[in-house]
Structures are given as C-alpha cells and as structure tokens.
Amino acid sequence: MERSSERHVDPVIEAYKKDVDRTLIRENLRRSPEERLRALMDMQRFAVELRRAGRADR
C-alpha cells in the first residue's frame, strides 16, 4: 500500500469521511474476503425481497 505520508488529502473526501460508519468497517475487516462477499449476497437477497414487498404494497 501507499505510505500515508505520500498521499494526497482531498478536503472534499475528508468531509465525506466524517459520515463513514467505522464500526461497520471494523466489524467487516474481521471477516474473510469470502465472508464479506457472502454478506453482500445476503444483502442483495434482502434488497430483492424489499423491492418485491414494495411492489406488492402499491
């Protein structure tokens, strides 16, 4: 990885960073890459179900 001292700091990105939920990131970093992708697939299935429920409720 790049060393932090060599990095360009973008004030716009820094402003966005304040809203990043680092507790979620820390939790996620404890998982393996495969576990992270499995969690993504669970999230996709949940999104599909939410969309289905939303359509049914119209």
Binding site: M1, S4, V20, L24, L29, R51
Partner: protein, 163 residues
C-alpha cells in the same frame, strides 16, 4: 432482478482458465467495503486465446446485453469481444461487466500488477488492491463515487491502525 451468484460466476471464469481481475464494487467488498453492489466487474486480458476462453466460460449462462431489447442477435464470442471493449451483461448467474479497460486504471496488464490473489469460493482469483481501487474511483470523477472513495480511504486507515 436476481442476486448475483458470485461463487458460480467466479468458478466459471477460473475453471475456464480466464485471465481476469475482479475490480469495482465486488473488489471493494472483498477489501472491506460494506456497500451494496449488484454486479461482478472483471477486467479481462484482451488476447485472442483469453477472449475465446472468456466467451466459452459464459456461453452456457445465456449472456445478453443488459438493458437491451429482447430478441437482438447477440452472441458472445471471441469476435464480439474483439469488436468491442466493455460489455455490461446479464446472465443466468446474474449481472457481470466485462471490462477491456478501466478509466484511470488501464487494461488487464496494468491492473493485474496492482492486484493480489485471493481464495474465493474455492477459486483462486485476482482482486484489485485498495490503493488502485481508490485511484480508479478518483479518476472516474463521478459525484456518486465521493462516498465510495471516502469509505475506501477509511478502510485503508482502519487497516493501517491494525483493524
């Protein structure tokens, strides 16, 4: 829309011996992102042999141009890949984007140098590294990527802190 079957897509590409690098949202998730992404983005090597393998790997999964009207005479084969560059496809395993080139990142040969190999669902896959993911997102210059870049940089900071 169906959830993307990442294990089956990655297995299909790996078992066919395709040279590819996982990029985009799925690579970000593998690196620690918690954002929802719908498709698998892969940068593929644009050699005749590799394009032949790639087309063959996906041919049994009914690849079709995403968002195109039904009934177009689309066939994914080496000549189709050679005639184009980036393809956004729907398959019966989900959505996959085949990228001959990534803005700010170049093609497979450049990207592979910034990737590392991971064991994913029983397949060895090359996944783009965090620094390059950030660089590519910055180069894209899209307003919607600002939050993504912020998250990726936060991941990098957490990893450096030993997270």
């Amino acid at each position: 829309m169906m959830p993307t079957r990442f294990p089956e897509l990655l297995r299909a590409l790996s078992e066919a011996g395709v040279d590819f690098v996982v990029v985009g949202g799925a690579a970000a998730v593998a690196r620690g992102s918690v954002r929802l992404t719908q498709d698998l983005d892969v940068a593929y090597r644009r050699t005749p042999d590799n394009m032949r393998k790639l087309a063959r790997a996906l041919s049994t999964h009914r690849p079709y141009l995403r968002g195109a009207p039904a009934g177009l005479p689309f066939v994914l084969d080496e000549s189709t890949l050679r005639a184009g560059l980036n393809f956004t496809l729907v398959t019966d395993l989900g959505w996959i984007d085949l990228l001959g080139e990534v803005t700010g990142g170049g093609g497979y040969d450049e990207l592979v140098q910034h990737s590392s190999e991971m064991e994913l669902f029983g397949s060895r896959c090359r996944v783009l590294g965090l620094d390059k993911l950030i660089e590519v997102k910055r180069a894209a210059g899209r307003p919607k990527d600002l939050e993504v870049i912020a998250e990726l940089e936060a991941i990098r900071e957490e990893m450096e802190r030993g997270g």
